[in-house]
């Protein structure tokens, strides 16, 4: 076995030193009958070539977004990630290091986390950010629970703009951990009046920008109304590239900004692992979940970094911790921070503009197809089309034409006939002129084909 250094001779000598006859005898505390004498019923060990072949065979059965025109979004976006990102995150000193609890031997990790926290705070316009969460959905529910702690209230108001999975995660946590969730109907045309749901029992209002349906949201009136009754505004974003072009939540009165950071630095990877961003106003610092890297000095007076304020966390606070999170998303946060460092201010802004321009031109094109209606007046790089037919079979028909033409809303929200014909279409910088033409054709043909 290529990963196991011990030889049989080593094992014999080591057992002699320990003073036991066999490895099995080290398992003497296992109840009789529960110790297996033979290997379980699974294949035997395999060489690198065989394993690569087996997994490669499974990979080959998939239609990768990189091999066909692809317009998929709904919370996960295909962007070009510079080659240096993947090279750098695979350095063993990053890849095979643990959580930086020993700061003297993990200054590398700690410094990039400090830089990551700064970047996230800058992007969102917030005072402070943590060192990452699992993903956007879990970051959002953690924000809701933080708002419950801060306000000592137990009712979250959820906008119809929020990603359905995020909503479902909040509802799951609410049902089982004891807070109320007042969710507005899904809002594909950005018409909701969420203000009327906010009252003195509301801990927070959760709203997504750009919305799940693509619309851009003005937080001004909402922030005012929420703050008037002491509730927090949680601004969710599932497309982090939009921060380059759209007004930041911290500049529009929001209290907490959470986001899915996958778009920057991380591949689609069939849904994970991704990286949750979490930022807020400084006054909530000690109620924040997750790890924090902080600046300090060493005994020689040199600047350095440590994990700090860890008394909030489970390994010290146990049942009184702000969150039960232990492992987070370190390596995905590294990919995020490297990609964003490569982009810089100028690169990010231009990339965001290119995304917007590409999507805007695509929307013009698709809206001209007979029977297809564009539901958005505003959007960043994703918009909603109302089709004359149910979206799920149309998307399947397009896939047969080797075009991944969008995400049907009904895939994420079941049992809502009024959403059945809605299709989310995203266009990033990876979309070419030819891709757009292919989508236009595939959509026309598929609409004709589907009954």
């Amino acid at each position: 076995m290529r990963y196991l250094p011990l030889t049989d001779e080593d094992r014999r000598a080591m057992l002699a030193k320990i003073g036991v006859p066999s490895v099995e005898s080290l398992y003497r505390d296992v109840p009789a009958g529960a110790l297996l004498k033979d290997p379980v019923d699974l294949p035997r060990h395999a060489g690198e070539l065989e394993v690569e072949r087996a997994i490669g065979a499974m990979a080959a059965k998939n239609l990768g977004t990189g091999s066909v025109p692809s317009f998929l979004g709904a919370g996960a976006y295909r962007h070009h990630v510079p080659a240096s990102v993947d090279h750098l995150i695979q350095r063993g000193e990053f890849l095979t290091s643990y959580t930086p609890y020993q700061p003297e031997v993990t200054q590398g990790t700690l410094q990039y986390l400090f830089e990551f926290q700064t970047q996230v705070a800058l992007l969102t316009g917030m005072d402070v950010a943590n060192a990452s969460m699992y993903d956007g959905a879990t970051a959002t529910v953690e924000a809701v629970m933080m708002a419950n702690r801060v306000t000592r209230r137990k009712k979250a108001v959820i906008s119809g703009s929020l990603h359905p999975h995020y909503r479902q995660v909040i509802e799951t946590y609410g049902e089982h951990t004891g807070f109320a969730v007042d969710a507005a109907p899904y809002d594909p045309e950005a018409r909701e009046d969420i203000l009327k749901k906010i009252d003195k029992d509301t801990s927070c209002v959760v709203i997504q920008n750009p919305s799940f349906f693509g619309h851009l949201i003005d937080f001004a009136a909402l922030s005012e109304a929420a703050h008037a009754v002491g509730a927090l505004v949680i601004a969710v974003c599932t497309e982090a590239i939009s921060y380059g072009l759209v007004r930041a939540p911290g500049n529009t009165g929001c209290d907490v900004a959470v986001a899915e950071g996958q778009s920057i630095g991380n591949s689609l990877g069939f849904g994970g692992p991704y990286v949750g961003l979490f930022a807020c106003k400084e006054k909530f610092l000690r109620q924040m979940p997750g790890r924090l890297a902080g600046q300090t000095v060493d005994v020689d007076g040199k600047r350095g970094w440590v994990l700090t304020l860890s008394t909030r966390e489970q390994h010290i606070r146990r049942e009184k911790a702000t969150s039960n999170i232990c492992t987070n998303s370190g390596l995905c946060a590294l990919a995020f921070t490297i990609h964003l460092t490569l982009l810089g201010e100028a690169g990010l802004q231009r990339l965001a503009e290119l995304n917007h321009a590409t999507a805007s031109n695509l929307a013009d094109r698709l809206a001209k197809i007979p029977g297809v209606k564009l539901l958005n007046e505003t959007f960043f790089n994703e918009f909603t089309l109302a089709l004359p037919k149910p979206a799920i079979p149309v998307v399947e028909a397009m896939a047969r034409r080797r075009v991944l033409g969008g995400v049907p809303v009904a895939r994420l929200v079941a049992g809502k006939p009024e959403l059945e014909n809605l299709l989310l279409v995203a266009a990033t910088e990876t979309v070419t002129e030819a891709d757009m033409a292919a989508l236009e054709t595939a959509l026309k043909e598929s609409l004709a084909e589907v009954k």
Binding site: R286, S310, T311, I316, R317, K320
Partner: protein, 124 residues
């Protein structure tokens, strides 16, 4: 003005009229190490003897401070928010946590005087 009294959980109480000032003992601050944060109760909070009054944090630990006597919180030492080190420097003086309006003076009877507390600490 009565003499200082201590609880087994290392809180001290000093009663003046019907108001008691509460803090943690020098022994407690020494065990805790450098105090980095103190979470104080809200003014007006009614608290029972033995229940959590405040939280004191060092780098590696967070410890509850229990109310050695019950009553209503009438004042808190906000200076600790900016200068938590005061708890280390002057635990029995400027490092006080809160003032509580006593609900039941007889609760003081169960607490130790200076000599008894010293003996108690020595036995630990």
């Amino acid at each position: 003005m009565s003499a200082i009294r201590y609880s087994k959980e290392h809180e001290w109480v000093l009663v003046d009229g019907d108001t008691a000032t509460v803090g943690i003992s020098p022994y407690a601050q020494e065990q805790l190490g450098d105090v980095v944060f103190v979470e104080l109760p809200e003014i007006g909070k009614k608290i029972e003897k033995g229940k959590e009054l405040a939280v004191v944090e060092s780098v590696k630990a967070a410890s509850e401070v229990y109310a050695p006597i019950g009553g209503e919180v009438v004042e808190v030492n906000n200076a600790l928010t900016d200068a938590p080190a005061t708890v280390n420097e002057d635990a029995l003086g400027k490092g006080w946590f809160a003032k509580i309006k006593l609900a039941n003076k007889s609760e003081l009877d169960g607490l130790m005087d200076e000599a008894a507390y010293k003996a108690y600490v020595a036995s630990l």
